[in-house]
């Protein structure tokens, strides 16, 4: 009897992490947030997501064909899917379809494929798409729907579809929406809580006056307020993010340093002048803070790669986030803060190289 002995070459344990699986895990972790967002802001969110995903996959496939690369191999890494999901979440629920198409196309084409595909992009593709849209269509991009429970008009699924694709439902059109949103909170749209606070503070109102708007909700006491709905959305993304850390898909460094920086700065200013700066809780649970901290800033391609560097990177985003929100021209600032720090990431990595075992701390040589 001959014993069969086939030697296997190393590595003897197969790793369980390929890009596609990792990206899929991140996408799955956004689901609780997406559900809460849909609950509060209506069907628009889901429609935007489906639209964004289908456009992203189409654009990715056609550019891969142009570049003569294997299509299904690259589509399977799920990176286009993740970009589309992150961008779709960030878009206003009733954004006209052509704007979504432009945003997703710029994200995949300008943000990723032109640089050479996944792994070569210096900027976070989803945020590139978002910023292109924000600069191109500032009014449409800052027009959100109010939380369903306090909205005068509640759009059904078909209503949302109509709104996105034909830009009108009954007597309502996107044009009239723009008018409405300019006169603040009237019907189907409203400025986001961040936007409202910023405008009111800019117009010399006190924070207390601003908070009397129905889009706010007191958690406890006078100054423990949050945006209605937004609080739960952020909480859901926080939960998804913590699960990502537990599964070791991302490390804790970026989210923790980002959120801690935001907490410390906003606390300082809030203590300094209670009436003209929003509280830390408001900053932590408004807009895209949690989504940004756990899902966007942690993009493995465009963020820092050393642990020490990641902490500096998170701190940088936190500072920029607070500065742009408080004194900049736009209500939320995750996209700008992340893109600006993407630019700094290679430099941070250069100066925070870890020590190799048995070597001295690398001294940075002057070139």
């Amino acid at each position: 009897m001959v014993m069969k002995f086939t030697p296997h070459s190393s590595p003897h344990t197969a790793g369980n992490n390929d890009t596609g699986k990792l990206m899929r895990l991140v996408v799955l972790c956004t689901i609780p947030g997406i559900l809460v967002q849909t609950y509060f802001f209506g069907w628009g969110t889901l429609i935007q997501l489906v639209l964004a995903i289908s456009v992203a996959l189409g654009v990715e496939a056609s550019i891969l064909k142009l570049r003569q690369r294997p299509i299904s191999f690259y589509l399977k890494d799920n990176s286009a899917l993740l970009t589309a999901v992150l961008l779709g979440i960030a878009l206003p629920p009733h954004l006209p379809w052509w704007a979504t198409v432009i945003g997703v196309t710029s994200a995949i084409m300008l943000g990723k494929q032109l640089y050479g595909g996944l792994g070569f992009n210096p900027f976070n593709p989803a945020m590139v798409g978002y910023v292109v849209l924000l600069i191109a269509f500032p009014v449409e991009m800052t027009t959100w729907v109010p939380v369903q429970s306090i909205s005068e008009h509640q759009l059904s699924f078909l209503g949302s579809l109509n709104m996105i694709f034909t830009e009108q439902v009954g007597e309502l059109t996107t044009q009239s929406l723009k008018q409405l949103s300019i006169s603040q909170f009237d019907g189907i749209t409203a400025a986001t809580p961040l936007d409202t606070v910023k405008n009111d503070l800019g117009n010399m109102h006190s924070l207390q006056e601003s908070l009397s708007s129905p889009i706010f909700q007191a958690l406890a006491g006078d100054l423990w307020y949050v945006g209605k709905g937004w609080f739960w959305v952020n909480l859901a993304y926080l939960a998804g993010g913590i699960y990502l850390i537990m599964r070791k898909a991302i490390t804790w460094h970026i989210p923790l340093s980002l959120l801690a920086t935001l907490l410390i700065i906003s606390n300082m200013f809030s203590l300094f002048s209670e009436d003209s700066y929003a509280t830390p809780i408001f900053h932590l649970f408004s807009g895209a803070t949690m989504l940004g901290a756990f899902f966007i800033a942690t993009d493995p391609v465009s963020a820092c790669t050393t642990n020490k560097g990641r902490i500096y990177y998170g701190i940088g985003i936190g500072i920029l986030l607070y500065c742009i929100r408080s004194w900049g021209g736009y209500p939320d600032a995750i996209a700008f803060a992340v893109l600006l720090m993407n630019m700094a990431a290679p430099t941070i990595d250069h100066y925070t190289r870890p020590r190799t075992y048995g070597h001295r701390i690398p001294t940075v040589t002057k070139e």
């Binding site: 300008l110 032109l114 292109v132 600069i135 191109a136 269509f137 500032p138 009014v139 044009q175």
Partner: protein, 232 residues
């Protein structure tokens, strides 16, 4: 045209195009090209300055000491820019207001100083002026194309405000290609210029590569002839 002049023209317009290949003078190029007419006007002004400065630099090249040549060139260029500026104030005042500081900034356009130093001060007057004209036209062509792309994508028009450059009769030149509720601001603002410029450079590289491939394909393969050394 004799062949050196032909080569100068080809260099200026395509092979060594100041905007697409040398990437010089990018500041006015990116800032001004929000419409076709703005691009055309700035391009023409730059071309006039280039021809004048190249011709003058070439004329005085034997008397300018090498150590102080750059200040001398800058003074010559500045003189021409002042002439252009005053001419524009006299004849196309509105356009002068639209282009604003970028007319004065032609002095600092490194494409012009670059041509003066790299070409004009080493060549006789005729090739030098020809070089100025062709480099200027190459620059203008890029400005016009970029301006057209940004105008069409940004506002859906072409030749808007042509009356500023050509006089009142040109008011009807404006073509409305499509109507936009709101401008596509990205193309109107500087990011659009960078994106458009990137695509133009990519397009030029693609065309060059196609031509190169075609040349390689048609070129007959060199047959190596063996020299017989000795009678077999």
């Amino acid at each position: 045209m004799s062949s050196p002049l032909k080569e100068i023209s080809f260099n200026g317009l395509w092979k060594n195009n100041p905007a697409l290949v040398q990437l010089l003078g990018l500041c006015p190029l990116l800032a001004v090209t929000s419409t076709l007419i703005n691009g055309l006007a700035l391009g023409l002004a730059t071309t006039l300055v280039l021809v004048g400065s190249n011709a003058t630099v070439s004329t005085v090249r034997h008397w300018v000491p090498g150590d102080i040549r750059l200040p001398v060139f800058v003074i010559i260029i500045a003189a021409y820019v002042t002439v252009i500026e005053l001419l524009m104030q006299a004849f196309v005042y509105e356009l002068f207001l639209t282009l604003g500081i970028f007319i004065n900034l032609i002095v600092t356009n490194c494409a012009i100083l670059g041509r003066a130093d790299a070409f004009a001060c080493k060549n006789p007057v005729l090739p030098a002026s020809m070089d100025g004209l062709m480099q200027g036209l190459g620059f203008t062509a890029v400005l016009v194309v970029l301006g057209a792309i940004r105008e069409v994508l940004g506002q859906g028009t072409l030749f808007s405000q042509a009356n500023l450059l050509f006089g009142d009769w040109a008011q009807n030149l404006t073509i409305d290609l499509f109507h936009l509720d709101s401008q596509f601001l990205v193309m109107v603002l500087p990011p659009g210029a960078f994106i458009g410029m990137g695509f133009l450079i990519a397009l030029k590289n693609i065309i060059d590569k196609r031509i190169e491939n075609k040349r390689k394909a048609t070129e007959p393969k060199r047959v190596i002839e063996r020299a017989r050394v000795a009678e077999a």
